[in-house]
């Protein structure tokens, strides 16, 4: 396989966007093309989860490629639940690595706030098992709540640990101009004050309001190119060194131990193995914290910390911006937002931003190796990417 580089990046604010879905996908794509200085796009992949259901639009890639005046480039939509973004990057990676294409655009977009929160929650819940879970009213918050309860009982995670993740990531988001939530929060305000239960009520006990990510619109894009193209343009060389994808049972209750996220573990192993690196080599990571517990659990499963010790590392500040291994400097899904189809591309955007040294106030010093974990379903389809800054 050929080496694959990220030559350009672009992103919209993750927030409520008041323009059509195709443009939410096209706008960051245009920014990414401009960032790379490349116009000869040969293939476009558009990551999205809900266009058909939420926005009443199918064949999104055809709309986007036309919107960008990129016809007759090839174009395909990629739907892989909340892991759609990284799945599209994987497809783009394969297209370049195989030698089929030299310049590929991957853009992810979602417009979820076109519907209300109840409909958005129901839309996301359609990724659960239709007969074993969905028909019984299972939603992602309820899944995460049951997972959290088990995690608490087994490993000693408390609501305070969850609140610490929320505070860390939401405060990181304050430094990210593209983040959805620009509201600093404190442990006192969401956990300790007499008003905390109203400020931060239970959504699905033990998860509270500030343990869940917001419902966001947004888009993000990357331009993937061959080594030859990457070295012909004047941009920092950031290589996708590792790609790992793994799956797990669709229904969570069929897992031998529901607190083990085996797909995360396997995807990370594959990604690190391909890159020839280990978790201890990573300088900065973006993990899929759709719920605060997931940052803790994923930080263990990908190998950053021993199983059951993610919350201890959190307590020690190891995952803070100035910690040993900063996690979610962008604010993560919790603070930056979670436009599901765009999320994986947004994670890649942040890591490339960091590895280029362009992340401003949230820049991790001397970051050279970055990692993303894009968690689809409730851990049943996971993609991990490893990025290396070369020059």
């Amino acid at each position: 396989m050929r080496d694959v580089y990220v030559a350009g990046i672009g992103i919209t604010s993750f927030t409520r966007l008041e323009y059509p879905l195709a443009e939410i996908a096209a706008f960051p794509a245009m920014l990414a093309m401009k960032d790379s200085g490349l116009t000869g796009i040969e293939q476009v992949y558009v990551a999205n989860m809900g266009a058909a259901r939420v926005n009443h639009q199918t064949a999104l890639a055809s709309a986007v490629v036309d919107s960008l005046s990129l016809t007759p480039a090839g174009a395909a939509s990629i739907e892989n639940g909340p892991a759609s973004g990284s799945a599209a990057i994987k497809e783009g990676f394969l297209a370049v690595a195989s030698g089929m294409h030299d310049i590929v655009l991957v853009t992810g977009a979602e417009r979820m706030r076109e519907v209300n929160n109840l409909e958005a929650t129901d839309f996301i819940a359609t990724l659960t098992h239709p007969l074993a879970e969905y028909i019984y009213g299972v939603t992602l918050p309820s899944h995460a709540a049951m997972f959290t309860r088990l995690y608490m009982e087994k490993y000693g995670v408390t609501e305070r640990h969850l609140a610490m993740v929320a505070v860390k990531n939401q405060n990181n988001a304050m430094l990210n101009e593209f983040a959805h939530l620009h509201q600093p929060i404190t442990i006192e305000g969401i956990l300790d004050s007499p008003e905390a239960m109203t400020n931060n009520p239970y959504v699905a006990e033990p998860l509270r309001f500030f343990d869940a990510c917001p419902v966001s619109d947004g888009g993000a894009a990357v331009i993937l190119v061959s080594e030859e193209v990457a070295k012909s343009i004047d941009r920092p060389l950031v290589r996708i060194a590792g790609v790992g994808q793994a799956t797990d049972t669709h229904a969570v209750h069929e897992r031998e131990n529901p607190t083990d996220l085996l797909a995360v573990r396997r995807a990370a192993e594959l990604s690190f193995g391909m890159a020839g690196l280990t978790p201890s080599d990573v300088d900065v990571a973006e993990l899929h914290d759709a719920f605060t517990i997931l940052e803790i659990a994923e930080s263990e499963e990908v190998g950053f910390f021993a199983k059951g010790e993610g919350h201890i590392a959190l307590e020690k500040g190891e995952t803070a911006l100035d910690g040993r291994l900063p996690i979610n400097p962008s604010g993560g899904l919790k603070g930056k937002g979670h436009p599901v189809g765009a999320t994986g591309v947004g994670q890649a955007h942040e890591i490339v931003h960091q590895l280029r040294g362009e992340a401003g106030a949230r820049q991790i010093a001397d970051a050279r190796i970055g990692f993303t974990c894009n968690f689809g379903g409730f851990g049943n389809n996971v993609i991990c990417l490893t990025f290396v800054r070369e020059n």
Partner: protein
Amino acid sequence: MAVDLEKILRPEDHPMPPFPAKYMTLASGEQMVIRQVDRDEIPDILQYVAPLVNVERDFYDVVAARLYSEILAYSRHRYQDQYVLVAQVDGEIAAVVNGRQVTPNLGMSLHTVALRRGLRIGAHAFATKMEYHMDVLGHDEVLIVAESPIGFRRWMIEYQLEKRFGTPHELGGVPSWSLTRELFDRARDTLVVGRRPVPDELLAKAKAGILPPSDPPTPPADLLAATRSMYDSTGTALMAQRWRQEVEHA
């Protein structure tokens, strides 16, 4: 002659017990004071509400325009039995709520405007308004409407308000919803927060002056308005085409 006419034009307010100020901790950890303001502080509030009339987002424009006229009329003695509460964080205005007493048993909720978004600031201010109606004014019922979907979620859904669709609300004559004492008592433990008395220093800072909001709601970004078209509302396609031309002809 002029004085006599003013007597006719000016409604006579019925005595209403004052709202005792309270404070609460927001999710941000900041302390928010909610207190009643008199007519002399209305001009300060008006200048902060006025810009929101141009914020065409979440019905800020409609709500701000109506609130502006209501509290202006209150300050100029052209609105009967109205009260105004203001929420402040470090002296900065965070929210304004108002309402009025229709009869000794019936309250009319008018408006709730958050001048700082998020952190349940608007929801806290609304809950405080309901507390004033129920616990201080002794109303049995408050008639409520929502002009925005956010308001509908915060009032009708969170408080599970009852329909009073046969009773037109003073705001636009639209069907009313009702907060009864039973509903309020049910919501009291979860939605109505705050502590009294307000520490002297905190209250003094609030009363020292109503400062402008540092992060007020703003109109939606109108990206590249000049290039807008029916199918390209951000101008993305035009920008892309122009940029491609620049690159290809460079």
